[in-house]
Every structure is written in structure tokens, then in C-alpha cells.
């Protein structure tokens, strides 16, 4: 293992090398955007420059943070619930074969079902409330987290289970102490996918339900459209994009890397 000084140096050297291709892509995208927007009215497609101004204004005014904050808060609740539900369900169907046969076909079906399809039903059952948005989010995320967990449980090396049994572990304690940690890297991948599903479901739900009340992205976009403010709509899209990127880079990516490094799957130097 490299010492702290060496790894810090490696990190500093790697930083810019890892970031500049992504920065170049952003720059290229802005140039293409600018070329398309040139000569068109601001009400159809504002230039990157105008949009950047709007983003800055909305940041200073706090509206953008409000929109992103609400989305993040609903995500935090919906996603935490989805992760807990999905992992428990996945552990159950991963360890009990009959439950697996009973539930997995339907979970696979639900996984490929766009969860926006639940929105009208959620409105009838739960009204245009936060509960409806949360329900749609959970329905979108749970099947993929559960299936990811189930597959990860099935991929746990049988010798580990054998060793644990031999050391006197059994039942629920075996699941918690061995199956869950052994499957964790696979579960993390399922959770990351679940996050993407939850995020899509949430934004879809907000777009349709948020038109009625609240302070979410749905309301913001509806108001922007009514006011012919395409720059504001683009600003909201950018803000949501940044939120997703931050969660991936600072949350999932780091977590997965930590899990794999601890298990010796990922060498210290790899990116």
C-alpha cells in the first residue's frame, strides 16, 4: 500500500487528468448550443450566455436552490424508503427460494414498467399531495433495488456461506453478518440504478402533480413556460443535472470505490 504522501501526490496528479476531458465536453456542448441559438429569439432558444446569467440570478435570488432543495428533500425521503424496502425485499427473495419464485417475475415486470404510468392512479388514490409523488418514486425504485439485491445475494460465493455456517452462524444472523456484507458491492450497484429510477419517477411526478401546488420543479417549470422564460426552464434542467451528477460522484462512486478497495477488488491506484 502506498503511503499517505505518495497517494496524495498521485491524487493531485490524477485530478486534472481525470477532469479535463469532461470539461472539454461541456465546452463543446456550449459551443454547439451557442451556434444553434445564434439568430433565434430568446423565447425559443436563449444563448448559453443568457442562460448562465439566469442561473446566476436564480442562484442569488435563491429560487434555484429552493427548487433543487425540494427535489433533493423528496428524493432523500423517497429514496431512503425505497432503499430500505428494496434491500429487505431483495434479501428475502434472495434467501428464500419460494418467495423468489413467487415475486421475482413480477418485480422484473415492474422494473421495466415506466413508473410515470402510476401517476394518474396515485392522483386518484392519494390526491395531488407529496404522498403521491413519494409513492410514484418508491414504485419506480424498489423493483430495481430489490432485484439488484437478490442477484447480488445469489452471487455470494458459496464457500463463504459454508464457512459461516461451520463457525456456528445461522438464520437471520447469517443473513445480516455474512450475506448482506458479502453482497454489498452488488447491492450498491442496484441502489445506484434504483437512484436513477427514483429520480426519473420523482421528476415525472413533480412535472404532472406539481402544476397544482407546492414549490417543486413542476411548479417552477410551469410558471416559466407560462412566462415564456425558456432560459429559466433550461436553468432548472441544468440544476437537476448538477444535482444528479453530484450525488453520483460524491455519493455512489465513492461508496462503491470504498467497498471494493476494502475487499481488495480495486487496487489503490486505479481510478
Amino acid at each position: 500500500m502506498p503511503g499517505p504522501r505518495e497517494s496524495l501526490r498521485a491524487h493531485l496528479l490524477r485530478g486534472p487528468a481525470a477532469v479535463w476531458p469532461a470539461a472539454a465536453t461541456a465546452l463543446a456542448a456550449a459551443l454547439v448550443w451557442w451556434a444553434i441559438a445564434a439568430g433565434r429569439p430568446q423565447t425559443v432558444l436563449p444563448s448559453p450566455w443568457t442562460t448562465a446569467h439566469t442561473v446566476a440570478d436564480l442562484l442569488v435570488g435563491g429560487q434555484l436552490l429552493g427548487v433543487v432543495g425540494r427535489t433533493a428533500a423528496v428524493m432523500a425521503v423517497g429514496f431512503t424508503a425505497s432503499a430500505l424496502l428494496g434491500i429487505c425485499l431483495g434479501l428475502l427473495i434472495g434467501t428464500v427460494r419460494t418467495l423468489d419464485r413467487a415475486l421475482s417475475p413480477y418485480l422484473v415486470g415492474l422494473q421495466s414498467l415506466p413508473s410515470a404510468i402510476w401517476i394518474p392512479l396515485a392522483v386518484i388514490l392519494l390526491g395531488t399531495s407529496d404522498a403521491a409523488v413519494l409513492a410514484v418514486t418508491v414504485l419506480g425504485a424498489v423493483p430495481s433495488i430489490a432485484m439488484g439485491t437478490r442477484n447480488a445475494v445469489h452471487a455470494v460465493p458459496p464457500p463463504l456461506i459454508r464457512a459461516a455456517r461451520m463457525l456456528g452462524e445461522a438464520g437471520a444472523a447469517l443473513v445480516v453478518r455474512v450475506v448482506l456484507p458479502a453482497a454489498l458491492p452488488g447491492i450498491a450497484a442496484g441502489i445506484e440504478q434504483g437512484w436513477a429510477f427514483a429520480f426519473r419517477s420523482l421528476v415525472a411526478g413533480e412535472l404532472i402533480l406539481g402544476t397544482v401546488g407546492g414549490s417543486g420543479i413542476g411548479v417552477f417549470l410551469t410558471e416559466a413556460r407560462a412566462a415564456n422564460r425558456v432560459d429559466r426552464m433550461l436553468a432548472a434542467v441544468l440544476a437537476i443535472l448538477v444535482l444528479g451528477l453530484l450525488v453520483d460522484r460524491l455519493g455512489f462512486r465513492r461508496w462503491q470505490r470504498l467497498l471494493r478497495r476494502r475487499r481488495g477488488v480495486l487496487p489503490e491506484k486505479a481510478t
Binding site: M1, P159, L160, R162, A163, A164, R165, M166, L167, G168, E169, A173, R177, V178, P181, A182, L184, L259, R262, R263, G264
Partner: protein, 285 residues
């Protein structure tokens, strides 16, 4: 040469009793993996089982461990019939099977925690065992940071910490280099002398068997059966270079070579599991 503590164990009442045990491969026309095997291992005795690939030696160990059940016959440990795995019969595998997300200390504590020991007692037991396998400074390392030999030492400490009635070892040293293997063989003899535990040790390495065992049991394949038992009455600790060991190893080897398979079909009865063994070894290396 013999030190105090290397006394011959009392072998009057068996710790492991294998009576007329047969084990067939389910749904297969191949000769049985084990056919009418009888073996009694005394308390504190060190018995090595040798034989070529496919002679059923790992199956025999699995039966004692409770990972498989015999089709006929009876396997008992200290008088109680074996029904499934249990912490009184701990196995050290060829592949160390340490839990990769736990530290070395947590791995050694694993079985003690399952047994409900308090944190303080687990910790002191783990430190004692890590000290005995010369890994005291590695308590907070993770298995992937250790060498193959060190991992096997952790696996051994994890097993012995449970103070099992019998210690079962399935080719535990075959994935480490020759030099490390010799060290481990000496250390295992010392640990065995200190603990007085009963050991059933499976290996394909005849010299290793002679170095370690009080008695070497020779199995032949197709069907798996006992073709000879060689007592080893040499002073301990032994190494693979001792003249006495080499002489006796030649005798055991001759016993193995005299017994070809009974049927031609049985020439490769255990090809599948031999393949897994090889790939495991490659991964561990």
C-alpha cells in the same frame, strides 16, 4: 528430540468414528466416492488422509464436517451422530474463506461472536490466537493485504479460537509456496501439541502427511476406499527433509501406486472438482 507436551495421545475412545460409510454421487453411474469406509480417530490424534485426486478424501472430510450426508453407514464425533455443520467441527479449507470485508481480528472473532461471547473475551481470545500464529501486528489488516500463508494462519486461528472438538483440514497448505508450506507444517505441529485437539487432515502430498500425522490413512479411487494405514512413529517436530520422513513417504507412495482403480470408468471420477481446485489455486496465487 521429543519435547514435553509431544506425548502420544490416548487413542482408546474415538473422537471421530466412521463406520461402514458409503457415499455415491447423486444420479451418477460412476463408482461411489466412498465405499464401506471404516476409520476411528482417537482424541488428540493427528490423522492424515492421502490419496490421488478422486479417491474421496475431501468427501470423507465433508461427511465429518456435515456438509454432506452418507448414503449408508454412520459418522459420529465424540459419540454424537453428525447432522449438518457445527462449530465443534471446524474446517480449514484450501481456499482460506476469510470474510474479505472484515479485519483479521474480526475474522478470528467471527465464530466467538456467533457463540455469544462478550466483546472483551472475544478480543482477548483473538489477540491470543493471532499471537500464537505470529500475526499479532496484523489484527487491523484486511485479508487481501496478507500473503497466502498469512491468510491460512488467520483461517487456522479463526478455527482454533472456537476450541473445536475436531479440526478438519482440507488441503490447507496446497495453495502456498513450498517454503511457506514447510513453516506452516512446523507451526501446525506446535499448535496441535499446545491445544491437544484432534485433527483430520486431507492432502495429496504424501510427505506432508508423514510430517504431520500420527497415522496416515491411504485411500484409493473408484470406488473410494481405505487401502492401508501407516503409523508414523518419528520424533516431532518433523520436517519434509527428515530421513525418517522420506523413508516412510516412499512406503506410503508405494501403497498408493499398488492400487489402480478397480474400473476403467473410474479413471477420472473426480475430474470436475479437481478442475475447481486448480482454478481456486490460480486465484489464490
Amino acid at each position: 528430540m521429543a519435547e514435553p507436551g509431544w506425548a502420544r495421545p490416548d487413542v482408546s475412545e474415538p473422537a471421530i468414528s466412521i463406520e461402514g460409510v458409503s457415499r455415491r454421487y447423486p444420479g451418477s453411474t460412476r463408482p461411489p466416492a466412498l465405499d464401506d469406509v471404516h476409520l476411528a480417530v482417537g482424541p488428540g490424534e493427528f490423522v492424515c488422509v492421502v490419496g490421488r485426486s478422486g479417491c474421496g478424501k475431501s468427501t470423507l472430510l465433508d461427511l465429518v464436517a456435515g456438509h454432506q450426508a452418507p448414503n449408508s453407514g454412520r459418522v459420529s464425533v465424540h459419540g454424537g451422530q453428525v447432522h449438518g455443520p457445527g462449530p465443534d467441527r471446524v474446517v480449514v479449507f484450501q481456499d482460506h474463506t476469510l470474510f474479505p470485508w472484515l479485519t483479521v481480528r474480526e475474522n478470528v472473532e467471527f465464530g466467538l461472536r456467533a457463540a455469544g461471547l462478550s466483546r472483551a473475551r472475544r478480543r482477548s481470545a483473538a489477540e491470543d490466537w493471532l499471537d500464537r500464529v505470529h500475526l499479532y501486528g496484523y489484527a487491523d489488516a484486511r485479508p487481501h493485504e496478507l500473503s497466502g500463508g498469512q491468510r491460512q494462519r488467520v483461517a487456522l486461528a479463526r478455527a482454533l479460537a472456537l476450541r473445536p472438538a475436531v479440526l478438519l483440514m482440507d488441503e490447507p497448505f496446497s495453495a502456498v509456496d513450498a517454503q511457506t508450506r514447510e513453516h506452516l507444517q512446523v507451526e501446525l505441529q506446535q499448535l496441535w501439541a499446545q491445544t491437544g485437539t484432534t485433527v483430520l487432515f486431507v492432502t495429496h502430498d504424501v510427505r506432508e502427511a508423514v510430517v504431520l500425522a500420527d497415522r496416515v490413512v491411504v485411500l484409493a479411487p473408484a470406488p473410494g476406499r481405505v487401502v492401508g494405514v501407516v503409523p508414523v512413529d518419528l520424533p516431532r517436530p518433523r520436517t519434509v527433509e527428515d530421513d525418517g520422513v522420506l523413508d516412510l513417504a516412499r512406503q506410503v507412495r508405494a501403497l498408493m501406486d499398488r492400487t489402480p482403480p478397480r474400473t476403467a470408468v473410474g479413471a477420472l471420477p473426480d475430474g470436475g472438482s479437481a478442475g475447481t481446485g486448480r482454478s481456486r489455486r490460480a486465484r489464490a496465487a
